[in-house]
């Protein structure tokens, strides 16, 4: 029984690293109340740790060191206006191809709004 609970806890932890702080509906419906609380607690304490070390987001999932500042992405959904760190804004319309700085694009790729075009 403990093994079952533990395995689920491990999966829940992984979800935070792969998807982010908010879980999509189809996954939320598979968790019981206590697991959702666990996820929230985990999320919160991870957030607090990241803040305490100077806001270096550990969850951006790069497998190799970044090679380029900008990456080309394909917009999968209408997103509207994206405001970037330096203040410039860009409208993301479905099926557009855009060059974005990696730091802006990565979280959107994780959420499924953008798709990285490689090559």
């Amino acid at each position: 029984m403990l093994v079952y609970l533990n395995e689920r806890m491990n999966s829940i932890r992984n979800l935070r690293w792969e998807i982010g702080g908010t879980l999509p509906e189809n996954i939320q419906s598979k968790l019981n109340e206590s697991e959702k609380t666990f996820f929230d607690d985990y999320n919160r304490s991870l957030g607090r740790y990241i803040q305490s070390i100077g806001d270096i987001d550990l969850t951006n999932n790069l497998k190799v060191p970044p090679q380029q500042l900008y990456i080309e992405v394909h917009v999968l959904q209408d997103f509207g206006t994206l405001e970037m760190e330096d203040g410039t804004t860009l409208v993301l319309r479905k099926n557009n191809r855009v060059y974005l700085p990696r730091s802006e694009a990565d979280p959107l790729v994780k959420q499924g709004i953008l798709e990285h075009i490689s090559g």
Binding site: M9, R48, Y49, I56, P65, P66
Partner: protein, 217 residues
């Protein structure tokens, strides 16, 4: 692993640029970043959590902040845009290294949270922030397990820390690791019962050894 044997890199090879960095007039890459890289490699290859390199992390953070401020300052200068891009990508890569180091440590803390918190040796190897994190994580785990299961079973089975049951995961100290010898050690007995021959550890040698016998080196 302290001074004499350093645990080497695994399959993830970031060293493709190493040759060009060590010119005859000395290394081009900043010493602190090298130290961080070594710390990360050691952490990656060792099954247990190693001591937190707070100086290295603090120094690297300072370098990063300094670089960031340079990048900001030069934002409006058209002549330095190219160099600025290079500085930016370099900053991203150093940030990546720092993220890797901290992330692998968090993972070890999470996987072995009970061992890490109860064992003084491991506790002392955590940074204060990591210790807070470990405690919070343990709280969250116990709350979840208690609520779901442990309160429903009889009192005598409730403890997660039963010493004679193997329920608390702890790092497997007998896995094999890569390592490179930094100083001449000479003959070193790997096996307590002297069933196997001793191994000659000389500077520059590279081995795959079981972690336990060599961990204090």
């Amino acid at each position: 692993a302290s001074g004499k044997v350093i645990v080497m890199e695994s399959i993830l090879d970031l060293s493709d640029s190493d040759e060009s960095l060590y010119g005859d007039d000395g290394p081009f890459v900043n010493e602190d970043i090298q130290a961080l890289r070594q710390a990360w490699i050691n952490e990656q290859c060792s099954p247990e959590i190693l001591i937190y390199k707070s100086n290295v992390v603090a120094d690297v953070l300072e370098i990063m902040r300094h670089q960031e401020s340079i990048i900001d300052e030069e934002k409006s200068n058209p002549e330095s845009q190219f160099l600025r891009s290079i500085c930016q990508i370099e900053l991203e890569r150093v940030k990546y290294l720092l993220q890797c180091y901290l992330r692998i440590r968090l993972k070890k803390i999470e996987d072995f949270y009970q061992t890490v918190l109860t064992n003084d040796k491991y506790r002392s190897r955590l940074s204060p922030e990591e210790l807070t994190y470990a405690n919070k994580y343990q709280e969250a785990c116990f709350k979840h397990l208690d609520g779901n299961f442990l309160t429903y079973i009889p009192e005598q089975w409730r403890s997660l820390n039963e010493p004679n049951q193997n329920m608390v995961p702890s790092p497997n100290l007998n896995t094999h690791v890569f390592c490179r010898v930094k100083e001449d050690i000479g003959l070193y007995q790997l096996d307590e019962d002297a069933r196997f021959d001793a191994v000659e550890l000389n500077e520059g040698n590279i081995f795959i050894l079981k972690y336990n016998p060599i961990k204090q080196l």
